[in-house]
Amino acid sequence: MIHSLFLINHSGDIFLEKHWKSVISRSVCDYFFEVKEKAVDPENVPPVLQTPHHYLISIYRGKLFFLSVVQTEVPPLFVIEFLHRVADTFQDYFGECSEGVIKDNLVTVYELLEEMLDNGFPLATESNVLKEMIRPPNILRSVVNTLTGGSNVGDTLPTGQLSNVPWRRAGVKYTNNEAYFDVVEEIDAILDKSGTTVFAEIQGVVEACVRLTGMPDLTLSFMNPRLLDDMSFHPCVRFKRWESERVLSFIPPDGNFTLMTYHVSSQNLVAIPVYVKQNINFFETGSCGRLDITIGPKQNMGKTVEGLMVTIHMPKVVLSANLTATQGNYTYDLTTKVLVWDIGKLNPQKLPNLRGSLSMQAGAPKPEENPSLNIDLKIQQLAISGLKVSRLDMYGEKYKPFKGVKYLTKAGKFQVRT
């Protein structure tokens, strides 16, 4: 299936290659570079490419291209999903997925890649199984390893791979037993010029951090599970129980994982936490423009809106911005033409405002369209859909764990058209 993998950095250097079958020459990447040149923006490179003898499937993560070479028919999503899993694993092991970190941990990276695929077919992709075989690096161990010539390869065998719960390793022990769940909801919305909602929906995810001894069997139930319209689960969740009783019953993996993602039914009206009053004008003559933005609270269920930020991709002709903000700071990046206004906490008494003038290239025609505003915000301790966890029960183990639930609402793809 997957024949080879090339890691390519932002400037187009191949800094790592790995072949699972025979070696394929690097020159195969030339086809990719050709397309990349044409696409200008790396986001615009099509993920699937055809070359005379091979097919190239690539993903773009953290300014890196993961480019895989396949030779025969294979579902493209299979490869894409796997590549993202590789990137996730790097993130999990090294804290971030960047060129520098990968170069620092080359040995571990090769070990991981060797275990994740066998002859091009995924073998062990569960982070719990991998961590049993190849230990994540830490400073103490790397010092010891350099002195003694040891390696990160674990000396225990990955028994989890054989059990009927492959996502959990055996013999987990903690002195403090705790289980935390984060319910994070994102509002995706498009608002039009007048502030009416063109499209809005809520996407949620339940992230878990479970550190429990032994083989606990957990049951998480919601106060109002009917809200949920469509969801996907971690493989540990017993789907049948959800179908019949609408509770999440599962034996959790050890550590951090995404328990479920969900979508709130579109019948429910989505509360939009802020309103935006904006006025952006470009004048026909004088090559300048005006900008005036005010943000105020709308439906925020009595909570404070934090981390408010407005990002505007200005038209190419805008040279500079001369603005004053009543709250927070603004920056205008001249090369990327991105205006960022970092507001912070929204104070309902004194609404934040940004106004001033934009200067444009002399002689250039005024832009056809006003740029749209991308809004970022956070509301702590609130799930905007109203979803609530009612209880968490544990079976199979005797001790009393510490349990905690946190709610957070964020703006997802929240866009205001102007």
Partner: protein
């Protein structure tokens, strides 16, 4: 040096594969050996694979499946031997092995479909527990398999075409005239099994799995069931950019054939300014596919925003899309045209050019009274530099030159001046315009035309020289020119068919969805065509698996004994052929699930066997397919509809006490319909139901029931573990009768097999509130344990738990809908009194069950 080190490595690996007591070492050794790509070791590898395929550890067997592919790529001549190994491994019941061996199968011998038959049901049942990558491979293999083995669930002529309802009915009635005995379509239970078992995987976190289930439903499910995949596909749009790209491509193909599937989610395809260009274009494509009379105004409003986008390539694509909407929906053609004309004054060149091209196409579809627009375009001509747009305007003026008699010659004059500096495509159209004008208005344009033809004659491009020569011979009369000259006008000014604006995804459906070939729109190496449905289903019995007697504990033997008798009685009592074969199937399935935990063990290796649990039957599996043992019990039949009230239609029902085929949470009910009137009854089916949420799996409509005839049909009802009656209407062609099925509490259970120890453990968990008990006085005739079992089983569908104590009788079951455990125990005390205890979470059920069992045991 290298050779010798390889040699020793090889030997060492071989030694490990055969001898090491640790399964991981054995597996790793095989991985190492099979990764040495030297032809010389082929025989040794073959040996090692064979050895490992018979290993007791499923992990080692999995590794051997991987090694098969490696060996095959090293030496394809080993195919025959490898197929033997694959055949053996396909029989494996471990979830670990399934994915890998199917992968090997796909690589080595994808055409040997006969190897799958016997393993088909097993693969379907294991599917949910296989690791996610294996699921993808198995699902795509099963899709191909199903297309060769089952008949089409899509009705004749109604394939996908929703708009073609009328034609479908017509053809149907015609066909009926031809041969009246055409049977209604009945889905093969195995086909249904596949659809049912893949459905939960739509909730997988792995996008590849979701996509493969979606394509399975698209290619295999009946028309009305396909739409269940919509939500999951739309969910994937939240994922990474690359995932979005592939999913949108597939949705684009789907939305051409089935608008209805995605229309409710139209807004999810709205474009954001931050999307990548190829994502934007795909979303646009889908929105255009979804456009219809009802939503076109919303879509056009949305398009207006896109036209102004800073991304000019995208704006141009939007104009194309508007053009497509305009041709497809005649109501908005004029609106679109006006909108596009406004865009002609846009400042951006690409936008204007694209508008010209689209307007040209639109005008061609309805050329009446649009001379204003043509004039407007002629005025714009000087300012437009994009060759395609210039060529389009020239063509328009030429084609409709009689509508703009004053302007056309002037445009030609300008072109004559700039001819040499133009692009090839513009030159060609200039020649074209000149020829047309020469024919219609030769007085004014004769000289101009000749000038242009002369320029063309010496052009650098041979295409233009060629065209010029051709045109000159065609229009300028000379002694050499033959008959063609007379027809020049008819040739050049013939009415031309308007171009059809079509989706670029129109022909993608020739590829299986979700494949690389579909994504690239060209056949990739190793792509396997999806075959058409067979007209007649091949033999179904090939998938039957011989019953292997389970050699488990005593209790199981006992229950399987009783199972046999019950299946016998079931067969003799059931009326129609269909239902009896169905029950047979059920029985086999049960056998299969039961024998799973057993494993043939090689005595020689028994010493290293103890280290691993050979059972790879996961927790989840038992949730999906509860291990069931059917129990003996006389079948009680209840009246559903009396023939007096039913105007001749009589109906009786009984509970066959088998797991429902349609959905595991349903209780299977068999209904015997008989006709006691003197005329035949037509179109017997199930109508409205109450409560409306009641989920019933209806039987297929019975087209015709002759007088004195009767038919047995099976249906499934989800009672949600309550004894509330299921009310529904039984309809014939003329009448409707309200009927209701009220289940006895004992029928809402299914047997669960467990050992005495497990029973006591579970009972210990269900104390307190969950326990109900009563002391009863029994008839002396009932005091023996056989008699007790018989009485208890007659009221409740539970399984007998073998007991080591004589005075204890234990029964275990689960509720069908929620799967809650119900434990019944009876302790015999002195002088024919007994303590009856029921432990279950469902306390209401417990008290009702207690009453029923008490009644059964106390009466003679």
């Amino acid at each position: 040096m290298l050779e010798s080190s390889k040699e020793s490595l090889k030997l060492e690996a071989m030694k490990r594969i055969v001898g090491d007591p640790n399964q991981f070492i054995r597996a790793s050794a095989l991985r190492v050996l099979s990764s040495i790509r030297v032809p010389i070791i082929v025989p040794i590898m073959m040996l090692a694979i064979k050895e490992a395929a018979a290993d007791l550890s499923p992990y080692v067997r999995k590794t051997s499946a991987h090694a098969i592919q490696k060996l095959f790529s090293l030496d394809a001549d080993q195919k025959e031997q490898l197929i033997e190994v694959i055949e053996k491994l396909l029989k494996d019941k471990s979830t670990l092995v399934a994915g890998s061996v199917v992968m090997a199968f796909e690589e080595v011998c994808p055409d040997r479909i006969d190897l799958i038959h016997k393993n088909y049901r097993k693969l379907c049942n294991l599917l949910v527990d296989v690791e996610e990558w294996g699921q993808v491979v198995i699902i795509s293999m099963l899709t191909r398999y199903a297309r060769t083995q089952f008949t089409s669930p899509w009705k004749e002529g109604a394939m996908f075409d929703e708009n073609n309802e009328k034609a479908f009915y017509e053809s149907d009635s015609e066909e009926k005239k031809g041969h009246t005995e055409e049977k209604p379509y009945i889905m093969d239970p195995d086909h249904r099994l596949l659809l049912r078992n893949t459905k939960p995987l739509l909730q997988s976190r792995n996008t590849a799995v979701v996509m493969s289930v979606a394509q399975l439903y698209w290619h295999l499910a009946p028309k009305h069931e396909v739409s269940i995949v919509t939500k999951s596909l739309v969910r994937l749009l939240r994922s990474h950019r690359e995932v979005q790209y592939i999913v949108l491509q597939n949705i684009a193909t789907m939305s051409i054939q089935r608008k209805g599937m995605f229309e409710p989610f139209m807004k999810s395809f709205y474009v954001r300014s931050t999307d990548a260009t190829h994502i934007k274009t795909l979303k646009l494509e889908i929105l255009t596919n979804l456009a219809n009379e009802a939503n076109i105004s919303t879509i056009l409003r949305e398009f207006q925003t896109y036209v102004k986008s800073q991304d000019k390539a995208f704006a141009a694509a939007t104009i194309q899309a508007i053009g497509r909407c305009a041709t497809n929906i005649s109501e908005v053609t004029d609106t679109c045209l006006n909108g596009l004309v406004l865009l002609l004054s846009n400042r951006d060149e690409t936008v204007v050019a694209e508008s010209v091209v689209v307007i040209k196409k639109l005008l061609q579809t309805q050329p009446t009274q649009h001379s204003e627009i043509i004039k407007h375009m002629a005025k714009l001509f000087d300012n437009i530099t994009v060759p395609m747009a210039r060529a389009s305007i020239l063509w328009l003026i030429g084609e409709y030159c009689e509508r703009v008699p004053k302007i056309a010659p002037d445009v030609l004059r300008k072109m004559a001046k700039s001819f040499t500096a133009e692009e090839d495509i513009v030159k060609l159209q200039t020649v074209n315009l000149a020829a047309k004008l020469y024919l219609t208005n030769s007085k004014q344009t004769k000289l101009l035309t000749q000038y242009i033809l002369n320029l063309g004659k010496y052009d650098q491009n041979y295409d233009i020289r060629d065209r010029t020569r051709f045109i000159r011979q065609l229009i300028v009369p000379s002694e050499k020119s033959g008959a063609l000259n007379k027809y020049a006008r008819r040739i050049l000014l013939a009415p031309k068919p308007a171009p059809v604006l079509e989706s670029s995804f129109k022909d993608r459906d020739r590829f299986q969805l979700g494949t690389l070939s579909h994504s690239l729109n060209s056949k990739a190496t190793g792509y396997q065509e999806l075959s058409d449905w067979p007209a007649v289903a091949p033999d179904q019995s090939v998938r039957n698996v011989e019953i292997i007697e389970a050699s488990g504990s005593d209790s199981e033997e006992e229950s399987s004994e009783s199972e046999k008798t019950s299946s016998d009685s079931g067969k003799s009592s059931s009326g129609s052929e269909q239902s009896s074969s169905e029950s047979e199937l059920e029985q086999k399935k049960k056998k299969k699930t039961k024998k799973v935990p057993q494993k043939k063990s090689k005595p020689t290796a028994a010493d290293r066997y103890s280290e691993i649990p050979a059972v790879c039957w996961s927790l989840r599996a038992s949730f999906f397919f509860p291990v069931t043992t059917s129990s003996f019990g006389p079948v009680k039949t209840y009246e559903l509809l009396h023939h007096m009230t039913g105007k001749g239609l009589a109906a009786k029902y009984h509970f066959p006490r088998q797991p429902c085929l349609y959905q595991p949470s349903m209780v299977a009910v068999q209904v015997i319909l008989s006709n006691s009137s003197d005329h035949s009854l037509e179109e017997i089916h199930i109508g409205d139901r109450s409560p409306a949420s009641l989920s019933i799996h209806c039987f297929n409509t019975i087209e015709r029931l002759e007088p004195e005839a009767s038919v047995t049909v099976s249906m499934g009802i989800d009672f949600s573990d309550s004894t509330q009656a299921a009310n529904f209407q039984l309809c014939t062609k003329e009448d409707q009768f309200s009927v209701s099925i009220q289940p006895a509490v004992g029928e809402l259970l299914m047997p669960s097999s467990m050992t005495e120890q497990d029973f006591c453990k579970e009972q210990g968990k269900l104390q307190g509130m969950n326990e109900t008990s009563a002391t009863i006085t029994m008839e002396t005739a009932n005091a023996s344990s056989q008699a007790i079992s018989k009485q208890v089983l007659s009221v409740a569908n539970v399984g007998v738990v073998s007991s080591s104590q004589n005075n204890f009788s234990r029964f275990a079951g689960r509720t069908v809908s929620s799967g809650a455990l119900v434990l019944v125990s009876l302790e015999l005390k002195e002088s024919s009194t007994a303590l009856l205890t029921i432990n279950t979470e469902k306390t209401v059920m417990a008290s009702m069950l207690l009453r029923d069992i008490k009644q059964a045991l106390t009466q003679a």
